[in-house]
């Protein structure tokens, strides 16, 4: 109905004026994961993992080992006191194996292939120095890839998402259910671990599609039909929920009862991200900002993209980046509305003529809410067009730029042209000095 907001070719606030196309993958690139300040790994349906230098775009390693597409990837950097820092990445594939790679050498450290089903998610519990793999069951592994313990067979569909909770707990999304497990290590240090199901939460009406931890006290889940539930991370109770993202009016504290006949695809919560105050949800084609304190959606862009938003991330500078199946990446800024010049009240027109007096009271009540809480809106400050197919994910590298991966097999590194230019100048003069001043030679 409403067309997508567009921005012209003049994008003053868009810093990305230079790009590098990283070629290597032969199929859809689905995952990007940051290893350290300047390296990241990419993986996708071709089963190959690439390590890249985020500054130069240089391909560092090409990791071959999986025969099927990669289903999950997680970095596992150990900054143990005992040993030197090693950066590992763990990858799970549809070939039912999990491989641990060493990022420094580009070699396969170990391979586990005792899975009964495809591992769909991986989580590293840095604190416990273990990692979890979630497939049809949940397994706990230590660094040396010893299976510490595992749950019984949970479901054929498998665990779709895992998130770490305080007090050695993890939340696993299994279909419509959210299962809380508690990990416990026996005290005597004999490395005997056990994992116990603590609670099953069945509040979602549909499959849980995203799961994110906000802080130590809360985590958020989103489902296919657009339910968003805020949970208490300690006692696993529902704090708030939101389901009518497609509804324009802001209605806090409404229980998720009403469901409009929207197609689930349109309302599916594809991705969630959060900062301390807000949860940012990619729902269908839109982006919604849900304030945890106010427990309501404070800003939204109902059609932020031409098609589903696949990934969303909050930048430190109040900016938000979203990428979508339409192949574009958009940069948004969360702005405070100065005032409400013309509240889009449907009855507004008639109010002027004295109609709808009966509604006046309600309207004023609604206005009051708006007056004491600042209103926000998402403004499009720039878009990045480069991919020819769905942008699956992106990785924000701060001033190094932004890496996006896409179904067109490409990864694009977007960079700040100004910064790159001055960096090159710096390199140039360094090299000049190296070569001995003005003795230019090629």
């Amino acid at each position: 109905k409403s067309s997508v907001q567009t921005i012209g070719e003049e994008q003053i606030q868009n810093p990305y004026t230079e790009l590098l196309v990283l070629k290597g993958h032969q199929d859809i690139v689905r995952f990007l994961v940051q290893i350290d300040d300047c390296r990241f790994a990419s993986a996708g349906d071709d089963g190959i993992i690439f390590l890249w230098n985020a500054q130069t775009g240089e391909k560092l390693y090409e990791l071959h080992g999986h025969t099927h597409k990669i289903t999950a990837i997680a970095p596992f950097s150990s900054s143990d006191v005992t040993e030197e820092k090693t950066d590992l990445i763990i990858t799970a594939s549809a070939d039912r194996t999990v491989i641990v790679w060493d990022c420094a050498s580009g070699r396969q450290v170990q391979k586990v292939s005792c899975f009964h089903s495809t591992v769909k998610c991986l989580t590293v519990l840095q604190r416990l120095n273990v990692w979890l793999s979630g497939g049809s069951d949940l397994c706990v592994w230590n660094r040396k890839l010893d299976l510490l313990c595992k749950t019984s067979h949970l479901t054929d569909a498998g665990i779709s998402a895992l998130v770490e909770l305080p007090k050695n707990c993890v939340a696993a999304a299994v279909g419509k259910e959210l299962i809380i497990f508690r990990l416990s290590a026996s005290n005597n240090g004999s490395e005997v671990w056990s994992i116990l199901e603590v609670k099953r939460l069945v509040d979602h009406q549909d499959n849980i599609s995203s799961l994110v931890s906000v802080n130590d006290l809360t985590f958020v889940t989103g489902s296919h039909i657009g339910e968003l539930i805020v949970w208490d991370a300690l006692d696993w109770t529902k704090q708030a929920s939101e389901c009518n993202f497609w509804d324009s009016s802001v209605q806090p504290d409404v229980q998720p009862e009403i469901k409009l006949s929207q197609s689930p695809h349109e309302t599916s919560v594809q991705h969630l991200t959060s900062d301390e105050e807000c949860v940012f949800a990619a729902v269908g084609k839109g982006i919604y900002v849900y304030n945890l304190q106010m427990k309501r959606v404070i800003a939204c862009q109902r059609t932020a993209h031409d098609s589903s938003v696949l990934h969303i991330e909050k930048l430190p500078n109040r900016q938000l980046i979203s990428c979508s199946e339409d192949g574009s990446v958009r940069i948004w800024e969360l702005r405070e509305k100065q005032q409400l010049p013309a509240e889009p009240v449907p009855t507004g027109f008639f109010n002027m003529w004295g109609f709808g007096r009966a509604n006046k009271q309600a309207n004023q009540a609604a206005k009051k809410i708006h007056e004491n809480t600042p209103a926000y809106f998402l403004e499009l400050v720039g878009d990045l067009i480069g991919h020819s197919s769905a942008v699956q994910m992106f990785l924000y590298f701060g001033e190094l730029g932004l890496a996006t991966c896409s179904a067109d097999h490409l990864i694009i590194l977007w960079k700040d042209g100004e910064r790159e230019s001055s960096l090159r100048s710096l390199t140039l003069f360094k090299k000049l000095a190296q070569n001995g001043d003005l003795q230019l030679k090629l």
């Binding site: 004026t17 230079e18 196309v21 694009i412 140039l428 090299k431």
Partner: protein, 932 residues
């Protein structure tokens, strides 16, 4: 000081001439004789009028021991080339100046004949009667059957243009040395073969004789020797002696390469490609494979063995036997190689010397600009096989080039010297001759570079020269030691410059005195002693007051100088008007075949950019040297004579005057080609192997570009797009039309690396982002099919990275351009008519941009803070100020320079091994739609 060249003399009965002649007559000593061929209505600029051949050619002659000097073959092998030129006479002439100290035979005190490995000698020879000048390269080949085992040969490069011979002496010498080396290598091999065979024959003969003797001994029991037996014994003895002699010869010939290899200047000829065995002479004996040249040994392994013959005792050298042909002398393979090399030489040096020189100079200069030259130049040729068979001089020069970084006057002479040895570049000089440009152009070209450093010393003034020298042909001789590529110390002297004054002198002399005698200046050290000191002395320096004016012959020259003031310019205009008229008059309607081609060239000449190019072709007579425009050197070496400063409208006064003639012989290439084809003489641009395509491409591109800027009012933003690195897509249905546009625009595309231009002429599939990284100019098919929809969809999707020129609807969608650089680059009212000229114009402005970008890139403080705590903003401010104020860039021009600077940076910091990721830089700027 008034001297003869100040006087403008005309040879044709023109109104202008009359005006001139009404003036008081000149003193006798200043008068200039009329052009001797004027009577025939000849083009005074057709310098070949005096010569009987139509173009340069190479002649190979032999001093045959049977019939004396005889021409063997010419290259090109076309009877038309040499025309009425008496090859026999000239053969005699060139063979008579062989100064090789060749001595072969029995040296006193030696029992055996000794092969003398003589150096080639290189001689410059002039023959005014024939109007021919030649570089003559003498060499000796070995032939067992020849007298003293040697056959003297010579290869001569014959040209009507003495300057060319003199100035290109070094290059000619190098190239001919290669050919000679090839011949001699083949000859040594063949000779060794021959010796082997002879030895076998002798051996066989000895066995036979021995057997006979034995038999006789046995049969003869009388106890005394019959005369027959004695005879046999003598025979046997002589055969044995002969065997020893031949063995010795074989040893000598085989040891030759070893001995020579110690000599650093020696570079044995090495076949460049895998040889076809079939090519190799099949009469080779396996034993004959020269052990000294192992590289070649394997080639001769499968040859059937030789059956020895009996040698008659008295195989005295008789005159009725047939001497071996050159081909037999040095085996087929090497002979063909030599011919190839000679053809190559012919192609390389074809055409006018000024063009050769300009090419060489610009090449040398380009080579020095190692940081920026990749941007707009095709640098592949610069790196083309440089060291391969270079002689020492080159290496030394290479060092020079590195040592001297900045192009100051002090370096300039070296630049020239280096030209001498940049033979690799010479090899691929795309020779596009401006035939009618006269010889006197050449010294200028070089001098413009040497400029004040050389000062007037070397600029022998024409008339003075004339009075000093009465000789009319000059021969300069150098032996190989000094001649072949000037050892380093010698190379410091500017040889290529030297000959010019001398040449000029001799020429003038020939005009003045009609004496027939010839002077031969023989020298073993060609560099310094080429010009006797007294010749150099006391030149009137008054003429050369302005150092940067490339004032060579002291004539009036209407060189539009630095910042041609308006009055200055107008002054020029008036004079040039007359010039143009002369031009036009001279070149129109001449049917003489000698003329046709100069006409084509001439006609376009004045159409070139005003001021810069409005140069009359150089007359043959020194008197007319007064009439000439300056030829600005594009590198701005000659005192900041920057072409861009010459507004093309300064001299527009002459436009009308020249109009008629211009239109007639305007820029239509077809006309040129037809003209060129109708007159086979003096073929202009040769189809030069390597760079001919490039050369032709340039011409065509320049032509198309001219057309483009005239046809499309929005040419400026389109060109700006290209220069600022925004990919321009030319969209159209008609492939030919799109390709034409792409070709036209390709000259504005900066290179991203030292590789091919980022230009894609024709694409039919939808574009992708990766394409914009790779290509900056793309021709795209507009199709009605569903695929075509995709193509258009992709275009609109990536529109922010693109400028789109729609060739069908004649629209352009691209960012706004408000700068000034492109306006100079592509002025639709430009006077330039010829494609190649326009190309040069573009090149000059682009070069200027490059230098600005270079400055910008390599100024430290523009990019980095001076002190630690200097804020970034002040650096940015400084940078912008520099761009705006120092470099004088306005608006979008800044972006052009910034983009070029970025390319420079990338190029410089790029690791040599790695290709580096191509990046795409872009701006978020709105685009506008331009329509016609």
């Amino acid at each position: 000081m008034i001297s003869a060249p100040d006087v403008v003399a005309f040879t044709r009965e023109e109104e202008l001439e009359d005006d001139l002649y009404r003036e008081p007559p000149l003193p006798e000593e200043y008068s200039v004789p009329l052009f001797p061929f004027a009577g025939q209505g000849a083009n005074p600029w057709a310098k070949v009028a005096g010569s009987k051949f139509t173009r340069d050619f190479i002649l190979i002659s032999e001093f045959s021991e049977q019939v004396g000097p005889q021409p063997l073959l010419t290259i090109p092998d076309d009877a038309k080339v040499s025309g009425t030129f008496d090859l026999n006479y000239f053969s005699l002439r060139i063979m008579s100046v062989d100064y090789q100290a060749s001595f072969v035979g029995h040296p006193p005190g030696s029992a055996y004949p000794k092969l003398n490995f003589v150096e080639d000698s290189k001689v410059v020879l002039g023959d005014s009667k024939e109007g021919a000048f030649a570089y003559v390269h003498h060499l000796t080949l070995y032939d067992l059957e020849a007298r003293g085992f040697v056959r003297p040969f010579c290869m001569a490069y014959i040209s009507a243009d003495e300057h060319k011979i003199m100035q290109q002496f070094q290059e000619l010498s190098t190239e001919f040395s290669k050919a000679s080396e090839c011949l001699k290598t083949g000859n040594r091999k063949a000779f060794a073969n021959e010796l082997e065979k002879k030895l076998k024959d002798l051996d066989y003969t000895r066995t036979v004789l021995h057997n006979e003797t034995e038999q006789q001994k046995k049969a003869n029991d009388k106890g005394y020797y019959t005369t027959q037996a004695i005879e046999k014994a003598n025979e046997l003895a002589s055969v044995e002696k002969s065997i020893i002699e031949h063995q010795d010869l074989l040893r000598q010939i085989r040891s030759y390469p070893y001995r020579k290899l110690k000599d650093s200047e020696f570079h044995p000829y090495e076949p460049e490609c895998a040889l076809d065995r079939a090519d190799v002479g099949s009469d080779q004996d396996p034993a004959a494979s020269d052990p000294a040249e192992p590289g070649e040994t394997h080639l001769y392994t499968h040859v059937p063995s030789y059956t020895p013959k009996l040698i008659k005792a008295k195989s005295a050298k008789c005159f009725d036997k047939k001497l071996k042909t050159l081909e037999e002398l040095c085996d087929v393979y090497f002979f063909t190689q030599t011919l190839d090399q000679l053809h190559h030489i012919e192609r390389t040096f074809r055409g006018d010397v000024c063009y050769l020189l300009t090419e060489q100079i610009s090449r040398a200069l380009l080579k020095q600009q190692s940081v920026t030259n990749f941007l707009f130049e095709d640098v592949s040729f610069l790196h083309e096989k440089p060291p391969e068979k270079q002689y020492r001089g080159c290496q030394g020069l290479g060092q020079d080039a590195i040592d001297e970084k900045c192009l100051e006057e002090s370096v300039a002479p070296k630049v020239i010297i280096s030209l001498g040895s940049y033979k690799s570049s010479v090899e691929c000089v795309p020779i596009k001759m401006e035939q009618e440009m006269e010889d006197s152009e050449e010294p200028k070209m070089s001098e413009s570079v040497t400029s004040e450093h050389q000062e007037n010393l070397d600029y022998l003034d024409a008339d003075i020269k004339g009075s000093i020298s009465s000789g009319e042909s000059i021969e300069v001789l150098g032996t190989e030691k000094s001649g072949s590529g000037l050892t380093k110390s010698e190379s410091q002297a500017s040889l290529p410059v030297m000959p010019s004054p001398q040449a000029g002198r001799s020429k003038v002399g020939s005009r003045r005195t009609v004496s027939e005698d010839s002077i031969e200046v023989l020298s073993t050290c060609p560099s310094e002693s080429l010009i006797p000191e007294d010749f150099k002395a006391s030149y009137p320096s008054a003429i050369n007051e302005e150092p940067y004016v490339d004032d060579d012959e002291g004539g009036l020259r209407f060189a539009p100088r630095v910042n041609p003031g308006v009055d200055d310019g107008q002054d020029d205009v008036s004079k040039q008007e007359s010039l143009v008229q002369v031009d036009a008059a001279c070149c129109i309607g001449k049917e003489s075949p000698n003329f046709l081609e100069p006409l084509a060239e001439l006609g376009q000449k004045p159409c070139e950019e005003d001021g810069v190019v409005r140069i009359p072709p150089q007359p043959y007579r020194p008197a007319e040297q007064g009439l000439r425009g300056g030829f600005p050197s594009h590198d701005g070496l000659s005192g900041g004579l920057l072409p861009y400063e010459l507004d093309s409208r300064y001299l527009s006064g002459s436009r009308e005057v020249s109009k008629s003639s211009l239109d007639e012989c305007s820029d239509s290439t077809s006309y040129i080609s037809s003209a060129a084809s109708t007159c086979s003489d003096r073929t202009p641009s040769p189809a030069h192997l390597g760079s001919a395509a490039g050369e032709r491409h340039r011409k065509r591109a320049g032509q198309n570009a001219l057309r483009f800027i005239r046809q499309y009012p929005f040419a400026h933003p389109a060109i700006y797009s290209l220069l600022s690195g925004r990919t321009l897509v030319v969209l159209g249905e008609d492939e030919a039309m799109v390709k034409k546009l792409v070709t036209a625009l390709s000259i504005f595309v900066p290179n991203c690396g030292a590789y091919a231009k980022p230009v894609k002429h024709w694409v039919t599939s939808a574009l992708h982002l990766v394409d914009f990284q790779k290509w900056k100019l793309i021709g795209l098919q507009r199709a009605v099919s569903p695929a075509g929809v995709n193509v258009l969809h992709a275009l609109s999707r990536y529109s922010r990275y693109l400028s789109i020129l729609d060739a069908d609807s004649k629209t352009l969608r691209c960012p706004l351009y408000k700068g000034t650089v492109v306006a100079r680059l592509a002025d639709h009212r430009t006077q330039i008519k010829r494609g190649s000229t326009y190309y040069m114009h573009v090149q000059s402005i682009l070069t200027q941009l490059c230098s600005k970008a270079f400055l910008f890139t390599f100024c430290h403080h523009l990019h980095l803070p001076i002190s630690e705590r200097e804020p970034e903003e002040s650096v940015v401010n400084r940078r912008m100020n520099f761009l705006k104020l120092q470099l004088g860039l306005a608006n979008e021009d800044i972006k052009i320079v910034q983009y070029l600077a970025e390319l420079l940076k990338l190029h410089y910091i790029q690791e040599p091994g790695r290709g580096g990721n191509p990046l795409l830089r872009f701006d978020y700027v709105p685009s506008f739609l331009y329509k016609i």
